[in-house]
């Protein structure tokens, strides 16, 4: 579910899901730092029952990239 990505991000970063878009990134979300990014990876792995690689984690630099990586990992977002 696309919305679930936003929900997970909203929860980790402490912002309303409605404020997030595919373009959201550490550039415009104050709470998205290296510490919360680790929390985000764990939360995404749990929420979508996937295992992410260190490269995947490094590449998740925006909501759009999170969705692309999760799709590659077979998360079935649609």
């Amino acid at each position: 579910m696309q919305d679930r990505v936003l929900e997970v991000c909203a929860q980790v970063f402490g912002v309303p899901a409605s404020s997030l878009t595919d373009d959201s990134s550490p550039d415009d979300i104050a709470g998205w730092d290296s510490l919360s990014h680790v929390q985000l990876i764990v939360a995404l792995e749990e929420a979508f029952a996937v295992t992410l690689t260190p490269d995947d984690a490094m590449d998740m630099l925006s909501v759009r990239l999170i969705k692309l990586v999760l799709t590659e990992r077979g998360a079935g977002l649609d």
Binding site: D27, D59, S62, R64, L65, L68, V69
Partner: protein, 392 residues
Amino acid sequence: MTDDFPFTEGQTARASLVIDERVISAFAEFSGDRNPLHVDREAAESYGYARQVAHGVITLALVSRLIGMEIPGPGALWRGQEIEWLAPVFLGDRLEVRLTVRRASRAGRTLVLLTEAFNQDGRMVMKGEARVSVVEKISDRREVTPRENRVALVTGSSRGIGAAVALRLARSGMAVVINGRTMTDDLERVSQEISVAGGRVIAEPCDIADPRAVAALVDRATRVFGALDIVVHGASTPISTVPVQEVAFEDVKTLFDVYVGGALALLAAAVPGMRERKFGRFVVLGTSSLLGTPPAGNAAYVAAKSALWGLVRASAVDLGPHGITVNMVSPGLTVTQLVEHVPARVKELEARRSPMRRLATPADTASVVAFLTSDEASYVNGQNLPLVGGPV
């Protein structure tokens, strides 16, 4: 190349001048030499001369004219003069001054000149010897074809970056020769877009990997538009992502033929005309893969583009003295059909990692190419301009 020391022993130059009141009074005025012998007829008579005697250095003024304007001409630096005045020159005389090259030292860039002056009766009134240095120009803003009359050839301009470059150059007033491997709807569309906007364009399909076809292409461009001033080499063939151990030399050669072979053929065909006109611009399309760590699976592409970059640097050295610059523009991942095979994740990641947070566009490259082809870029040569939205 024009000989910048075209002097031979025995070479001569002449100048003549009628010594009238105007000449004498003008010299007296600026030099302050108002010796009555020169400026007052009665005084001249009182010294035993029938007419006023001209200032001796007026003769030298003609020597100066010949040195500055004839032999050696502009760039002359008059270093020394031995002189003997043999007879007076009078008001009303017709003076003829003659320079003859006695010695021409190319190594020393120096001329020794015999300087002689005669009156209207053929009598020698002055003789001497001048030493003149021929100074080399260290900077030269050459006269070039006005920008609006320039002609550009853009290889690989049926779509993507090449098409954007062709449109951009046409918009700046250049006549443009567009090119694709074959005549396609895309090439036709670019041609129409330029024509509709009032631009001058011809579409000339040919295989850039074929040197004979390239020679014919340049010949056609020159015949239609009268010259070829600018070449932008953007042609490519489809690129695939393959691990290096699976790359055959044939794969590299295919790209090499288009990038390096094409560039060599374009240089061979276009440089003679550019040298003649002392103006030329080559801009070749590089890749950001040359700038940092190359992306995985691109061995053939990176190898061929690296070779092209080597050719750019070497050509810049050879052609710079002729007013021809050779540069490369290396955009980051640009959204065109050429990179259709690149996964969405890679494209998105490249955009996120750029300080500008986006991928390059064809227009980004077109504007930099337009700059490199301009007069303003006449001192940019042998460079690879990164277009990646930030430091690399």
